[in-house]
C-alpha cells in the first residue's frame, strides 16, 4: 500500500494538493493550517501533488515509479557524481 509522508515543516498550507488530488487523499488540517493525509488507500500514485506542491513537502513510498526514458542518461550520470 502507498505510504505518504508530509513534511510539516516544509508545508506552506497552500492547499494545492487538496484541490488537485482527484481522489480526495488530502485535507487541510484547520488546527495548524497544514495538509494532512486522510484517504491514503485511494492514492493511485499519479504524483500530481508532487508536481503542484511548491514546497516539495511530500514523499510517496512503495509506489510504481514510472520509467523516465526521456531524461538523458548523461545528465543522470553527471547528477549522480554531484549529489
Amino acid at each position: 500500500m502507498v505510504e505518504i509522508i508530509i513534511d510539516e515543516d516544509a508545508c506552506v498550507g497552500c492547499a494545492s494538493c487538496v484541490e488537485d488530488c482527484p481522489n480526495d487523499v488530502y485535507e487541510m488540517d484547520e488546527a495548524n493550517n497544514k495538509t494532512k493525509v486522510v484517504n491514503e488507500v485511494d492514492c493511485m500514485a499519479c504524483l500530481s501533488c508532487h508536481e503542484i506542491c511548491p514546497a516539495q513537502a511530500m514523499e510517496h513510498r512503495d509506489i510504481h515509479v514510472a520509467k523516465r526514458l526521456y531524461i538523458d542518461r548523461k545528465v543522470n550520470y553527471a547528477l549522480k557524481r554531484i549529489i
Binding site: 500514485a45 499519479c46 520509467k67
Partner: protein, 185 residues
Amino acid sequence: MDMSEITDTLGTFKPELIPKETGGNLDDYEDALHVLMKFMGSMSSALEQVSGRGANAIVYQAGKRMGHESAKMMDKTEDLEKALYELSEVLGEEFYFIKWKPDAQDSYVLQKDNEVTVKLLFMDCVVRQTLRRTGLPQKGPLCYLLYGYMVGAVEEVMDLKAKVDIDHVGPNACLKTLTIKWSAK
C-alpha cells in the same frame, strides 16, 4: 554532440533478408528515441496550431487504425478480463497499466444498462514521456494517439464498440475509463 566525436565504423555490407545486427549501441538507441520524441512533440504541437481541436480527432483516428492493425492477430473474445490481457499484450510494457478502483467500490468492473466500464491506471507511458521531453502539456492531441490505440485494439479483440475517457493525468500515472457497449457492433 561534436561531429569530431562521431567515429566512422568500417565494415562489410552484404545483401540479406534479415539483418544479423542493428549497428548501434545503447547510446544510439537513446539518441534515436529522444530525436523521435522531439519530432513527435513538434508534430503534435504544429497539428494543434493548424487544426485546433480537430487535431485530437486526426490523431485519435491514426491511433485507432494502429490499434485495429496491432490486434488483428490477437485472440478474439467477449470476456473483458481476457480482452484487457490482450490489450496489455498489444500495448506492451512501455504502456504498463493495471485495473484500478476506489477502495469503497466493490468491483473493478461496473455494469450499467448495456454498458460496462473499467478504470485503467496507466503507469508507464511513452506518450507521457514524449510530452515531458518536449515540454508539452498532457491531455493534448498526442494523448489521443493512445486513446485511439486502445479503442482500436479493444474493438478488434471484442468486436464491440468501445470508448475511452480520461479521468486524470499526472506525471507518474494517468487514470482512464474504458467503456464497452455490449449492444453496439
